[in-house]
Symmetry: C2
Subunit: 196 residues, 2 copies
Amino acid sequence: MAKDTKERILSAALELFSRKGYEGTNILEITASVGIVKSGIYKHFQSKEEIWDALLNQMIAYYDEHFGSAEHLPPVPDSLDGLVAMTMRMADFTIHDEKVMMTRKLLTIEQFHDERAKKLATKHFLTGLTEMFTHVISGMMTQRLLKQDDPAMLAFAYTAPISALIHLCDREPEKTEDAIRQIEAFSQHFVRIYGL
Amino acid sequence: MAKDTKERILSAALELFSRKGYEGTNILEITASVGIVKSGIYKHFQSKEEIWDALLNQMIAYYDEHFGSAEHLPPVPDSLDGLVAMTMRMADFTIHDEKVMMTRKLLTIEQFHDERAKKLATKHFLTGLTEMFTHVISGMMTQRLLKQDDPAMLAFAYTAPISALIHLCDREPEKTEDAIRQIEAFSQHFVRIYGL
DNA sequence: ATATAGGGTGAATTTTAGGTCACTTTGCTG
DNA sequence: CAGCAAAGTGACCTAAAATTCACCCTATAT
């Protein structure tokens, strides 16, 4: 039938893998969710592992495309409140966007699946955010909005707690509202401490 | 043969589940690692899921026993360097202790397995550390070692980045040395910012 | 010493899941 | 509109994995 079946398989696989893990998901569940019969999946992928592979490639490509190069760095806020606002916008998006959340959950539970998953998990959860905010914070320092300090250290100190709260939302969605408030409180604390 | 077989099964299960996940581990691997034949495991547990259950109970009990009550709170350091030193001792232990590391990895990859795993993961990765350091930091504030501020906020700001680096060690052990240096640098940054 | 229970064995069973295959349908393209 | 390739179907195969069971040790308590 459709030409987008391959994508829909990947989409269903993301949803299922992120919820039940790679080993905990079977082909039948994936195909049922796509609306084809089990064996039909082998017209698109040679094996289950190849689905994982394609999914990982897709996630890596998505990441590089959206956060990979310097062009995608966010604009430097022109005030301390601007930093808080930008942070809240980004947090809100990343917490509520289904695809992004599923990608994060998948990387969390399958980070030991292979080497590439590990690398991508580290980017997602640690280095990516830090690099991005190193740029932002360093920009705000040159604009005399923040005290002079090691931008990479501040970026790490800023993003890691936020990242921890995002993980909390992934794990216990019922705590989302609370976590978002905590992110805002933390962001405000940060600008109070480091702001000029 | 031995009477400690049940414990050895749990120990093997922890090792295997933390490396390959619950679904990714089979009974044969567990029993082989213990040194009994596959069917022998049913003399100790009624099902695979019951092994998971017992393991979780053990982890919950261990956590409560070691970090549960106020008696197990660490002593309040009497200097800023003391805080750094205590942090490094704790980080070193938690990163290198095999059992603790496996527990953390297991909770990471199986945190969505059931509700109890979620709760324990949140304690391990977020609230437990924060509570512990709220006590430490609040103690150091009354001793005029740290600036007056919200102790819970500082504890969160202090522990979350360290926690992120511990996760990095779990994921990519080859980065352990580097991560430990980063923990130390971050801890020193913290006392520089908040110390009196 | 022997009965008994708890721990261990190995073969058998059952279920599930990944994968194959021959065949049908369908949407294009010449 | 014929023909072909891609997509989809359903029956089938196979292997792996959980669990059961009848039976065998062996330590210990009477």
